[in-house]
Amino acid sequence: MQTAMLAFRNLSRQKRRSVLLGGAIAFGVMIVTLIDGFAGAFVDNVSENFSNLLAGHVFVEGVEKSPKGRDLEIIRDDLALREAAEAAGIEAMYVSRRSGLQGSFKFAGRTATLRVQGVDFAAETFLAERLALASGSLENLPRDGIVIPEPIADKLGVAIGDRLLVTTRTYSGQQNVGEFAVAAVIKDPGILGSVSAYAGRDYVNELLDLAPDEYQALSFYLPSLKGMDEAGDRLHAEVSSRLQAFERKAPGAEGENPILAMMRGEDEETWTGVKYRVTTLNDALAQVQQIVDVLDTASLVILLVLFLIIMVGITNTFRIIMYERIREIGTMRAVGMQRGQVRGLFLYEALFLALGGAVAGLAVASLVMLGVGLIDFGLDSPLFLILRNGHMSFRLDWARVAGKVAIVAFLTLAAAFFPARSAAKLDPAVALRTAV
């Protein structure tokens, strides 16, 4: 305890040197903490944004082969899927059954390409709550009513009630033409949302040449991001026991996206009737996890490189300290201080420096995260997908932070160990005779 007190006093005696060394450590910890915080929120933010865009966490799609072997997206057996979801114990906050078309919309000589989600508005009440309307209403939506994003309304120059001509394709790829009446305009929903419109599923199905009870994607919006893979596995097992289903794929050895791997398999396979694909948001975002793994590795490498440089500085500084205090060490040894205590004195100083630097680094990193988090990048920012409501957000895993602080403390102690050992080995008589 006395040695620790002495070490603390020594550090405060050389404030400038301690601040510089501690500052270097703090800088390293701050950089690494910022990367960790960014990586921690990255997956959550991307998943959250995508789950809003895709209206779910667990998805079912049906694929049917055309006479010439083309894959056609269609779900025909809703009842079997309902039973499978019930048997799998999928507790979803919302369930959506949607069809989708891509069309070229025309109005008064202007053209815009839009993806239209065919939605059952009566069942998807949560969608009405989420859409921020700029004008118009979702009440009493006409059968051919469409809800378009503001940038598209501006581009086409349309107002509520205007009729848009759309050229599109049926689910099997045949040409079709239809007309939509603009029923509502939603506020600019950001980069990806700005090309998505919503319309009644009945009319979208008519343009897709689907029957009213058919659709293309079944989505389950779970209460949280956790447990979606388990839910996907359970649903897959139940769907497989009732209907034809594709094998769920784990990310491939070369990091291939599981959904793409599944779809590649579909090209080589033949079957009759509808075969179902059960996927999760994590499957779709497998590459995002790879980015996080890269960020984690980068953070560790940066930590090690920064601290190798800092260690050289610490070793040199502690050598200088040893020579500066050589007579003091000799005196302490002469009055009875043991070698271990002298070594301990140096190591305590290094430990305090490491801990002080780490705390300062964490504090500065927290302030930077707070400051950056206040900046509003807007929903139309190119960074939209990694932002939370237009703001950069950070999430720290405190166990990981503690691990990094332990690494910093270990490296600092390792850097100070050799000067500490040299100081401990000093002969008191020689040390007292040395002129500094």
């Binding site: 072997g69 025309k106 001509l165 079709n176």
Partner: protein, 246 residues
């Protein structure tokens, strides 16, 4: 008496129309564009016009082996698309981009570089195989007496669910084709002016005019040149041909 004469004439024309084997007529139309055991090559120059824009010219060299239903389209113009191409192997259509060196899956229903023409317009097609005759009638198109055939697709493998053909009565040559959407709206009109090129003992229209009926003022004109019929090397219908072609 006059009324009786009209009735007889009407009955006769209906009987004549009934006697006409329209399925055989479709097969005959198909045979004009089918070179069977021989390969077909031609250059299509497609000039597309859109209101307020300068006309754009696309030139495509087409290689077809009808006996195996294969084709290769190689873009010669414009310069930015030179070397791009389509390859049909079995039932799969692939688009090749020399910039990336990659092949991407495509379909015969894709339009040719933003023109009104589709890949299916440049490849062999079969009205008899793809369509059923729903209705037939007689009419006049310009100076020609024509059969008007209303066709409905047998399955969804073709771009147009409904097609109306205007076929010359004197020869089985199509003068006009109207393509309809699934909802029944006229989407484009394809005219085949009566000027033909002889190749492999067949008569092929030398010009095709495609009018977009949805986007007023948009149209494309296809002109054929350098037509040849004969055996092509087997490796013409391979990925390596497109890769080498640039």
């Amino acid at each position: 008496m006059k009324r009786a004469m009209i009735s007889v004439l009407l009955a006769l024309s209906v009987a004549m129309a009934g006697a006409q084997d329209f399925k055989a007529m479709l097969r005959e139309i198909d045979s004009l564009g089918d070179f069977g055991g021989q390969d077909f090559t031609a250059t299509y120059t497609i000039v597309s016009e859109k209101p307020g824009q300068k006309p754009e010219t696309v030139q495509v060299r087409v290689y077809r082996r009808d006996e195996r239903d294969q084709f290769v389209f190689l873009f010669l113009k414009p310069e930015r698309q030179k070397g791009q191409g389509y390859l049909k192997v079995d039932d799969n259509v692939w688009f090749y981009d020399p910039e990336s060196g990659e092949f991407a899956k495509s379909t015969i229903k894709e339009s040719v570089q933003d023109s009104e023409a589709r890949n299916s317009d440049l490849s062999r097609m079969s009205y008899a195989d793809d369509y059923d005759i729903e209705k037939s009638s007689e009419g006049k198109l310009g100076a020609y007496d024509v059969w008007i055939l209303e066709l409905v697709s047998k399955d969804s493998e073709v771009s147009w669910q409904r097609v109306r053909l205007y076929v010359r009565k004197d020869k089985p040559l199509v003068l006009k084709e109207e393509d309809f959407s699934v909802s029944g709206r006229l989407m484009r009109t394809v005219s085949f002016p009566p000027s033909y090129i002889s190749a492999g003992g067949k008569q092929i229209p030398s010009r095709i005019l495609i009018v977009d009926e949805i986007n007023t003022g948009e149209k494309s004109q296809l002109t054929l040149s350098d037509v040849a019929v004969g055996r092509l090397p087997d490796d013409t219908f391979t990925e390596s041909f497109l890769k080498r072609a640039r």
